[in-house]
Symmetry: C2
């Protein structure tokens, strides 16, 4: 039986590193801004290293700063460990549960085992994956991606802080002492092979709550692509330039955002613009010369993601010549994360445990809307995820909340 | 006869203070970023002070930093001077002619008079109005507005640098030594009464060029209003939050921008969004919590400006509940500049001079699309403006260009 109170206390205690965006008076009523490899992130990492060491785990850190804590099993074999992994970094306006809960729950499992003198047969352990969010260094699931061989380490190391082009992910790893010596690889010879990867995570959406279920058995994750569009027009005086003579990139970008929304709606997909930027010298009475915006397209089928992207590009081309003298635009594909199916055996074992704990009516099978490190581990070891409800489906938001009643259930399972 | 070459040389020579945004190889092929009361603006102001003093003008500076250079006429009366005024500050991505040409042309007139020993009957002079653009301290025609009694001096002094909230217009006046002792007022007792105000300016639009005219006799200026809208939603994960559960302020703002455009088009008015801002911690996979954008509405009739504003507000209310769970919004009115009619006598004298110089076929009567300091001087002294074409109607743009052939004509008139 895991200790739900201790988990609650530990999680919130460690949220002092990065607490931000207070929304209520209570001690835990803040969000988080613990961007990867900042001082706050380094604090919680050093704390985690000390905790797992206290439990007798061996800790290794790879060249992406991924932290692997390993507890020996009875067999004392060199077989790869079974991992419980997630991430401790957050969005700039994130909450206290996204990623953090998974790592803290894994730690609670290790603590409970230790306390009760319980030893698994095979080695078991915990992983803290670096830069899952991609909010500071713009590549999500960054270091599980390197581990899985999908992202070349050089390109991950060279990611620049989005607000400070002189800082790279590698320079921050070095600065904080988390540039480990072990290769970041799922390859046994020089890296870290995993026997399985289980990830506990808040759903980050409203489906469990709306269906009144307490456990989501995640059968896979939807595909998604991130694109960045640059729309080019011409600075012009807003008072003297007839609409017909303008090349207005913000007007065009507005039409593009709405069009992508309508297209996604038609295909039951998602299309979202999270970032839109004008030049910093924009001015009320000047039509801006240039607008940049992101587009995040998602659907459980890759072919639909592809189709929505194509429809958007077609529509954007038409929009580019719709108003005044038209605008130009170009785009880049920044992230392409195809849909994945998790491992059937891992899924079945989660289902069986959930049935025993809460009964079949309280669990449901679902597809993850978000990407997770498990998407990448799934390429090299049997993987599945356990979702737990979060209040009103709110995530990537300071008010994100997950009730300890809900943890209790799946934590029992997790062990 | 004014010296067009000297004017060209002086204007471009003084553009070394603030030159920016190079677009070609030629020495004058840059735009300008001479924001009001920056070091660059202070340089050109000190230079102007020295030049008018050399010409024997008396120089007075008021509490808004407006510079009045006065050349005595034959009568040596204390009657108010006839002023040629405009501004030396620019947009952050502005050109070399907007405002600057009017001040430099006035200087050239004073130089030509001096050279030829020509003395007017009444006193004549030059005015450099502070912060016409409102690009740094967000209030356009700011100091002519204070002079005219429309803007309270305290509120103008308290304007904050849009990028640095610790800097006010008053603190910059003090820093650069341009906080004069004279009251900023059109009132004779303690301020600066003007006998008339003539302003030479580039049209900033394409009408003169398209109609093949070389002089625009400006009969007035259209009305305009600047509003700022704040749209409030909720941070949400782009991958896990169904469209129906979102409160997406950027989607709503996009619809608002397009709607304002369509409404303006229907009423032959202008509606433009020059600035749109998301929180600095916006992220590709998070729906932003808040969006702020400006709206600039213009039409020669105030009633139409009012009507477009009302239609926009109605439409925005409908948009606010259109998608997902809806958004909230609020707004402020930042600038309200009603339409003006310039002085009939001033207009006639410009017409007569234009007819003599270029003939009636080469001049046309027009309404200014932009606000100008003349809009405010018109409240307290007979005022009119002379427009000259600018290439392709491009202004508030580094590539703004006005051909010396066109200056030649109206400068002869100006004297
Ligand atoms: N779980 C999570 O927020 N991952 C970030 C990648 C994504 O946007 O899906
Ligand atoms: N001439 C000019 O650009 N004035 C600024 C105020 C306006 O936007 O009309």
């Amino acid at each position: 039986r895991i200790n739900s109170d201790r988990l609650w206390e530990t999680l919130h205690e460690t949220c002092k590193w990065g607490a931000a965006h207070r929304y209520g008076k209570g001690p835990t009523e803040t969000g988080m801004a613990r961007l990867t490899l900042t001082d706050e992130d380094a604090h919680v990492r050093r704390w985690l290293a000390a905790e797992v060491t206290k439990l007798g785990c061996s800790l290794s850190i790879d060249q992406m700063g991924n932290m692997f804590a390993r507890q020996s099993g009875k067999l004392k074999s060199s077989a790869p460990m079974i991992a419980m992994g997630s991430h401790l970094d957050t969005q700039p306006r994130g909450g206290r549960y996204d990623g953090i809960l998974g790592v803290m729950a894994a730690l609670e499992v290790l603590r409970t085992m230790k306390e009760n003198g319980f030893q698994t047969i095979h080695d078991i352990g915990l992983v803290n994956w670096t830069n899952e969010e991609g909010a500071r260094f713009p590549r999500s699931m960054c270091s599980s991606g390197v581990w899985a061989g999908v992202i070349p380490i050089e390109s991950a190391w060279n990611l620049h802080d989005i607000h400070d082009s002189s800082t790279t992910l590698r320079s921050e790893l070095e600065k904080h002492g988390f540039l480990g010596s072990m290769a970041c690889s799922s390859n046994a010879a020089n890296g870290t092979l995993l026997g399985a990867h289980f990830e506990l995570h808040i759903e980050q959406g409203p489906i469990l709550q709306d269906s009144n279920r307490s456990i989501g058995v995640v059968k896979g994750a939807q595909g998604y692509r991130w694109l960045t569009f640059r729309v080019l027009g011409r600075d012009a005086h807003t008072g003297t330039t007839p609409l017909s003579a303008r090349q207005d990139p913000l007007l065009a970008a507005s039409r593009m955002i709405i069009s992508s929304h309508e297209i996604a709606k038609r295909y039951d997909a998602l299309a979202s613009t999270g970032v839109l930027k004008l030049p910093s010298n924009a001015s009320t009475n000047t039509v801006a010369s240039e607008v940049t915006f992101t587009l995040d397209i998602r659907h459980p089928q890759d072919s639909v993601v592809q189709f929505v992207q194509e429809e958007c590009l077609k529509s954007f081309s038409a929009i580019a010549s719709q108003d005044g003298r038209g605008v130009a635009f170009d785009w880049t594909l920044d992230t392409d994360s195809p849909a994945v199916q998790f491992d059937k055996n891992c899924i079945s074992s989660i289902e069986a445990a959930a049935d025993a704990l809460v009964g079949p009516d309280k669990r449901m099978s679902m597809t993850s809307g978000a990407g997770h490190d498990s998407v990448y581990t799934n390429k090299h070891c049997p993987t599945a995820m356990i979702f737990v409800p979060c209040r009103d489906g709110v995530s990537h938001n300071p008010t994100e909340y997950c009730s300890p009643e809900d943890w209790y259930v799946f934590l029992a399972m997790y062990g």
